[in-house]
Point group: C2
Chain length 345, copies 2
Amino acid sequence: MSETTILTTTALQERVEAIFRKAGLNVIQAGALARVIVAGERDACKSHGVYRIEGALRTVKAGKVKPDAVPELALEEGSAIVKVNAADGFANAAFELALPKLTERARSSGLAALVINDCTHFSALWPEVEALTAEGLAALVMCPSYATVAPTGGNKPLLGTNPFAFGWPRPGKPPYVFDFATSVAARGEIELHRRAGKPLPEGWAIDAEGNPTTDPEAALAGAMLPFGGHKGSAIGTMIELLAGIMIGDLTSPEVLAYLGTTTLAPFHGELIIAFSPEAFAAGRPGNPFARAEVLFEAIVGQGARLPSQRRYVARAKSEAEGITLTAAEIEQLDRLLALGLDAVA
Amino acid sequence: MSETTILTTTALQERVEAIFRKAGLNVIQAGALARVIVAGERDACKSHGVYRIEGALRTVKAGKVKPDAVPELALEEGSAIVKVNAADGFANAAFELALPKLTERARSSGLAALVINDCTHFSALWPEVEALTAEGLAALVMCPSYATVAPTGGNKPLLGTNPFAFGWPRPGKPPYVFDFATSVAARGEIELHRRAGKPLPEGWAIDAEGNPTTDPEAALAGAMLPFGGHKGSAIGTMIELLAGIMIGDLTSPEVLAYLGTTTLAPFHGELIIAFSPEAFAAGRPGNPFARAEVLFEAIVGQGARLPSQRRYVARAKSEAEGITLTAAEIEQLDRLLALGLDAVA
């Protein structure tokens, strides 16, 4: 077995932040990006951990994201919408800036939305969801992606893999959180099948002529399919409408046209809706948090799983024992720190 | 071919309203129920048309809905939540009472929610969605149902078929609307297979032991499955949380326990979220309604369908030519009008 290194989350945060600072990101951009990368690594979400640093740096190097952006918060009296302009930076710093105001509005109005505009999205939605559940709020989060998914009945890429995420706070426990692509599979999974020379499961994709295919190459040249047939396709379309068009930001085909590739982090907006269960349940019988536990127990009691549980098990282990990185990962961190943007193509 | 009768929507509205009045419903309950039934019949949604009258009457006769309920609107200054208590009547009258206030709040705050509590839900969600799109608002609507669906990985009914509906206004055109069960199939479809002696498609249901089944009898004694695997299961769970627990109303298992049957209209709450695209898009480039048309054209342009189009074709025909009812349907309307609650078991 190869050598491994164990780091605390704080130590890993410092290293990743230093890499981004070296690459020209300002303090707020570097800190916010590093926090979501460390959270991914801590939760054993390897696809959202240190592996992602290079993609962020490539996007900076391609000039598609502003490394020193300073997001701007716009507040309107009496509105339930909080707007933050990422100023062409990453979404994460903009979200961190806006979070206190979103929380305050959701508590005072019962319901509030955060719109992030002009951002490069990076990378999962559950960090945003969990930031809100930590405040005792329920949250619904969505954003477009690149046009790689054909609507059901169609034959060409149009929708994105458009992630849809939701969270419900559980006092004293990690929250109920789901965060999934509205395509059957993520594009990365098709890429993994291609590299492994394995056929795709049926129903994942169509080829460039619109015919069902299990060939990863043909799928990458064709289109992915929405999850759940026409229902998933409708939800993917809803996300283009609400989290692209309604918020005055790019749709998935516009993102792809702007970037010209799916290998850089996508430039678009993000929509976050926060609910105060206390405000909604006020004056009604029962405590919503206690009642939710009854539902969760019934789910688990019949052998079904709650989403995100694997992440939480990994998180508890990381928090108790530190985060374990392989020698190759440590080497990569060292290389990125030494070379900055020169480390990426 | 048997004789048919053509009625205008106004004439059908009067007939259906008279039936409900005869059965003891007050003016607001009868009018609101009749409007959604006529809308279903007009749109050739036969399962939501005059066929449904009996189910509503059965629910009244069983004492599970108050026929003379007067809903009450509760308004709180500065809140983005409008609450209406249906006072144990049907949801429809409560919705009609609250609609102007919801519309006003959504326009002034950009985003607002309507909570309907203590209602008997009847019957599709698209009438609520379309009432909001007619005001130029986007809408997301959801509610629990009866516990008939097993969560993915489980083996017992727990979730409802929990409908999820969304609408986007299209100036000068019928809106973009979807409204679907978060189970693979509706319970009625399983019942239809049973009556026809036909096996179910794979993946619709499990038997009482939790094993996959294509036998409709076994499925009715077991559980239905969520659409789209664990993703649909998660969305169904979210609906229990947001539109049951968060709003202080019944979850699907609680509904089933309260009614003891799935043959009566369900008693629970409903959550409606209304978005003002103008408020969200303010200050951003492009008109959101014009941009949405580009997306819809791209969907239709590749041979995919927009949801609800069959309804709109039927609607245009009904509006031009009237609503055609069979002799049996007319006979049933006459019988219901003559007998009132005595017409149902």
